[in-house]
């Protein structure tokens, strides 16, 4: 019964399937298989069935709320859900129950979506493998000995493994696109400001953006359309009209110019990944796109800039977890001892490391050399993309330098950071990007093609991804889980 949302809702309309039956089928699959995958941290069975029944009544009455009514979805556990615990994959928030819904969650509920549960992630979205959740690791449905990518690995694995029809994650340096590539699903990071961050537990506020995971590009367009648009509660959200992404999809790539950046094919990248991406570009050329080389030289400094900006902002955002208002408290003889023990016990090693790095980078005497410098490098990255997009409509590149790695393979934080080298520039510059499956390695592991666009040009990004998807067979392949 695992099929794209647009097919499910077609079936609801025809009366071939009901939202309740579909929700029950997903819940049954979760009960049977998630012990092995570990995609979920919390499953809200009763909520989901109640929402599905309401959806079913609407479909029966011929008055569905729209194309997501009755769609069973999963949410990364950094999206606040009223009355449902939101842990961020951390001991710190193990028992935290928000009294409010994130704007995205509000919009999904208003669209009739059926939320199945909250998915696993690297603690506070810091990581690229979903091994560093405080609760359990998530496994890649294509090969359970491998990671699903991260930090939104739970959402990616849920969609890939048939444990949700679609899902949402957050992307700060590649946390949607990289796991989408590793799990063979479509994952999109919209333009910074396109989707409200209100209710997304912040990692790095100037980089975070919420986006969808889907089985195909059509669903990606549907899911993005449901959450995009201005929100008065997020000052950084953009007040621009939201186009009809679905209507734009069939327009093809004929006549579009695609930029191929030299800097995205680097020494040490997996040759199978390079081959698959180059073949994908040939496919796009065959569909009528013009391919042009572009240069984005500051790409090689993006990682360094990112690993200053992210820890600095994270150290600030995570200061509030002090055992006073919510979350974990470890007793102490006095306030400072209580807070210091709480934070040491509540945060895992990677979170502590980044908090320390960020605190150091912002502390007296170091600001200009680190944070100030990184923000200037960021300006250069933006300028380069701006110059490139003056010549080309889209940029195509690999999503990651390699395919999914084995659990425990990357112990060294730095080698883990390198995973995001192709996705980080998109966050630094705020531009939209999608990862769409573009083949498999010899070992049967998925590979992702990344398509980046101009700010707010999600429609064109999706249009190219759709044309590519229609022209290739990858979508038909599914992991064997059962």
């Amino acid at each position: 019964m695992h099929r794209p949302i647009h097919e499910l809702t077609d079936a609801y309309r025809r009366g071939d399937l009901t939202p309740t039956a579909v929700a029950e089928s997903y819940l049954a699959r979760i009960a049977a298989l998630d012990e092995r995958v570990g995609a979920y941290l919390t499953v809200v069975r009763e909520h989901a069935l109640a929402a599905a029944q309401e959806s079913e009544r609407r479909w029966r009455a011929g008055a569905p709320l729209g194309p997501l009514d009755g769609a069973p979805l999963a949410l990364k556990d950094v999206l606040c859900t009223r009355g449902v615990r939101t842990t961020c994959g951390s001991k710190m928030l193990e028992a935290f129950v928000p009294p409010y819904d994130a704007t995205v969650v509000e919009r999904l509920r208003a669209a009739g979506a059926v939320v199945l549960g909250k998915t696993n992630l690297d603690e506070f979205a810091m990581g690229s493998s979903t091994e560093h959740s405080a609760f359990h690791p998530t496994r890649n449905p294509w090969d359970l000995s491998r990671v699903p990518g991260g930090s939104s690995g739970g959402s990616a694995a849920a969609v890939a493994g048939g444990l949700a029809a679609g899902a949402f994650g957050s992307d700060t340096g590649g946390s949607i696109r990289q796991p989408a590539a590793f799990c063979g699903v479509v994952g999109m990071k919209p333009t910074y400001g396109r989707v409200s961050r209100y209710g997304l537990v912040a990692l790095a506020s100037s980089l975070d953006q919420i986006g969808p995971f889907a089985q195909d590009v059509e669903d990606t367009a549907l899911l993005l359309g449901a959450i995009a648009g201005h929100d008065r509660r997020d000052s950084t959200s953009i007040a621009a009209p939201v186009p009809d992404y679905m209507a734009e999809l069939p327009r093809g790539v004929d006549g579009l110019t695609l930029g191929l950046p030299d800097e995205y094919f680097i020494d040490g990248m997996d040759p199978e990944v390079e081959r698959a991406v180059r073949q994908a570009i040939d496919v796009l050329r065959g569909l009528g796109a013009r391919i042009e080389r572009v240069s984005l030289p500051t790409t090689r400094h993006s990682l360094a800039a990112y690993y200053i900006i992210l820890p600095a902002e994270a150290s600030s955002n995570l200061a509030r977890y002090d055992g006073v208002k919510y979350g974990l408290r470890v007793p102490g003889r006095d306030l400072v001892e209580m807070e210091s023990r709480t934070r040491a016990a509540g945060f895992g090693a990677e979170v502590r490391r980044r908090i320390m790095l960020g605190t150091y980078a912002l502390s007296a005497g170091y600001y200009d050399a680190y944070y100030g410098k990184a923000q200037s490098v960021r300006t250069l990255v933006r300028r380069e993309f701006g110059a490139a997009f003056a010549r080309v409509d889209l940029i195509v590149a690999p999503t990651t330098p390699n395919v999914a790695f084995k659990h425990g393979e990357k112990e060294d934080p730095l080698s883990m950071y390198l995973n995001d080298v192709f996705t980080i520039p998109g966050n630094l510059s705020g531009i939209p990007g999608v990862s769409v499956p573009c083949g498999f390695s010899g070992a049967g592991l998925p590979i992702g093609l990344q398509i980046l666009g101009r700010p707010l040009d999600e429609a064109r990004v999706l249009r190219a991804a759709y044309a590519y998807e229609k022209a290739t067979p990858w979508r038909a392949r599914r992991p064997e889980l059962a």
Binding site: M356, T359, Q375, R382, N427
Partner: protein, 95 residues
């Protein structure tokens, strides 16, 4: 190079109780990370304005209108320790 004093200073600033061994390990790891980030120095950013937002939005303000507050119980509901209508914290020793 980041030394032990820097690590201790940062740990105090951000309220992290780290053991001697953890502080030492942290110092090593931060140094190894910072060594890689040092390539930033190579970028010429003379006269380049910093970007703090990826969007060029300005002047976002709301009208001065009162909205309903959240119920007291909802706001105290997650408190690790409370005393009646208050959050409760252990004694404060002045710094």
């Amino acid at each position: 190079m980041i030394d032990r004093k820097d690590v201790e200073h940062a740990a105090r600033l951000t309220r992290l109780a780290l053991t001697e061994a953890e502080l030492e390990r942290m110092r090593e790891q931060l140094n190894s990370i910072l060594a890689h980030l040092d390539t930033l120095r190579l970028v010429d950013t003379t006269g380049v304005e910093p970007t703090s937002h990826a969007v060029d939005v300005v002047n976002v303000m709301r009208e001065d209108e009162v909205e309903p507050c959240f119920p007291q119980d909802a706001m105290l509901g997650n408190a690790p320790d409370r005393s009646g209508e208050f959050f409760r914290v252990p004694r404060i020793i002045e710094e």
